[in-house]
């Protein structure tokens, strides 16, 4: 079995900003242990001589010319906002500081 614990799941939930309930954490801990056991086998064949593939079709140097295009209007930009002050998105007080 994988070594994943409820504390670990709670930590991951915090990193992922999901306020899981204790019941969900318990359930997920069990499920993830099973899933991780079954997927951990990737490391069996992933030897050092095998390069990683991050893009299925290799391309390089895909660029855009430095030319200004269309922007959203302020109204469009704010159209989906749960809350705004007419020009800016509004959020509750921030606890942590910028990184």
């Amino acid at each position: 079995m994988s070594e994943i614990t409820t504390d670990q799941v709670a930590h991951l939930a915090n990193l992922a900003r999901i306020a899981l309930t204790p019941e969900e954490i318990d359930k997920l801990t069990g499920e993830l242990s099973v899933i991780i056991d079954s997927i951990a086998k990737v490391s069996q064949v992933a030897t050092a001589d095998v390069p990683a593939t991050s893009h299925p079709i290799p391309l390089t140097n895909v660029f855009r010319p430095d030319v200004i295009g269309d922007t959203l209007s302020q109204e469009e930009a704010l159209s989906g906002a749960p809350e705004h002050d007419g020009s800016r998105f509004k959020v509750s007080a921030i606890l942590g500081e910028e990184q």
Binding site: A40, A52, P56
Partner: protein
Amino acid sequence: MTDARSSRGPRHAAETTPDSRGATDRDLTGTADYGHQTGTVDLTRLSAASLSELLHAREISSVEVTRAHLDRIAAVDGDVHAFLHVSRDAIDTAEGVDVLRRSGDQLGPLAGIPIAIKDVLCTLDMPSTAGSRILEGWIPPYDATVVRKLREAFLIPLGKTNMDEFAMGSSTEHSAFGPTHNPWDLDRIPGGSGGGSAAAVAAFESPLALGSDTGGSIRQPAAVTGSVGVKPTYGGVSRYGAIALASSLDQVGPVARTVIDAALLHDVIGGHDPRDSTSLRDAWPSFAAAARAGQLKRNLNGVKVGVVKELDAPGFQAGVHQRFHETLDLLASNGAEIIEVSAPNFEYAVAAYYLILPAEASSNLAKFDSVRFGLRVNPVGGGTVEDVMSATREAGFGDEVKRRVILGTYALSAGYYDAYYGSAQKVRTLIQRDFAAAFEQVDILVSPAAPTTAFKIGEKVNDPLAMYLNDVTTIPANLAGIPGMGLPMGLAPEDGLPTGLQIMAPARADARLYEHGAAIEALLEDSWGRTLISQAPELKVSK
């Protein structure tokens, strides 16, 4: 019943038998505008290719076609639940296209033909939720590139189709807005994540649909609903405006009832998009021409067809296994050389996929934070923005999304990256090598498109691992970026439900899929004496 191969000859489409249910029947006789004389036809039963001919000949109007499909949706979608949203503008749009056509404008082959759009794609005029509560009611301020291309080709968007939340699932049961039902058996799943799009075409609610395929979400639903779906070469169709699940795996593609229809739609949505860095600049051939050539040829003379040993597993449903081997025999007797190939690393494909996908998804789904769009849930007694984000994501995401986001967060965590995500990317390399070796021996690879027929709703929803194994045959193509097609392979003897064949071709050889796919489709239908979809039971029609 309508013959899906009607485009082989002129006017076959119009000579079909009237549909007995009548709800969406319309009498073309004496339609003054068009002077059509051939009797009553149910426009929802026609292929897009047939509709195209009739529209171009001005024997029918786009308004008539569109209305027939809207009526059909009204009649059956209460049971099927393929749609999350039905457009209010479809008739107006169709009218506009009719006006253009009457004024003599040269319109493309799919102009005036309705299409259903998977809800993962952004549409300016309709909500785009990706099946998630967190995006309920969100109307994007922009169109996905493929949606823009549909509009520019004058297709008629009918509405948005249901899907597993953020395309995470193989059954459409993980939609926040309730499951879609398989038109073949309403108690069963229509596959996923694009169960809505597959069910919409299988239930004759739309002749065409758009899907997205990250690990099989187009091909597996096609398999279990008796329809045709194609995952193009990665980069062949723009992802701009497709709400991302796993960026390096996602690909938008066509869903239809025939290979030619899928090809016609692929011709419209494909091609380079400067807004998607991973979009290929290739000059693509006409896929419709390739499909027509294959259908005309009706054989596989000299075609080397590879059977991937590892994708012909004994654990598959017996009827699937049986139909697959019958199909191989049919191909062999029609000129194909069947060659068994081995892809030893496919054994690791599902594992690699369930590391890469959750990892990328955990990052892609971070944007759903209640600040710029979508749901906001304030915790009881208020809280900081961090609390609001966490409460929103807890309330707005379903169980499967949470499961995969947590899994992906884990896979990317410090100390685990190399063992999990890093290793999975190496497996990806190995799988690409397996494909490369196989395609040195063969022209196309085939396998079942799904290991089973449609299972019962609720049967696997609480067993994530069992659910994940539904994509065992489709996942390798996503990992390697190659194109794959799912098409009907007959009904499983034990349950009478559709089975699907998967065809895969090397990257950029999508045309090969359409050519051989259309030939195989024609051979199978000749062997059955009719189309598979015509054997679907009638749906109860509510008025």
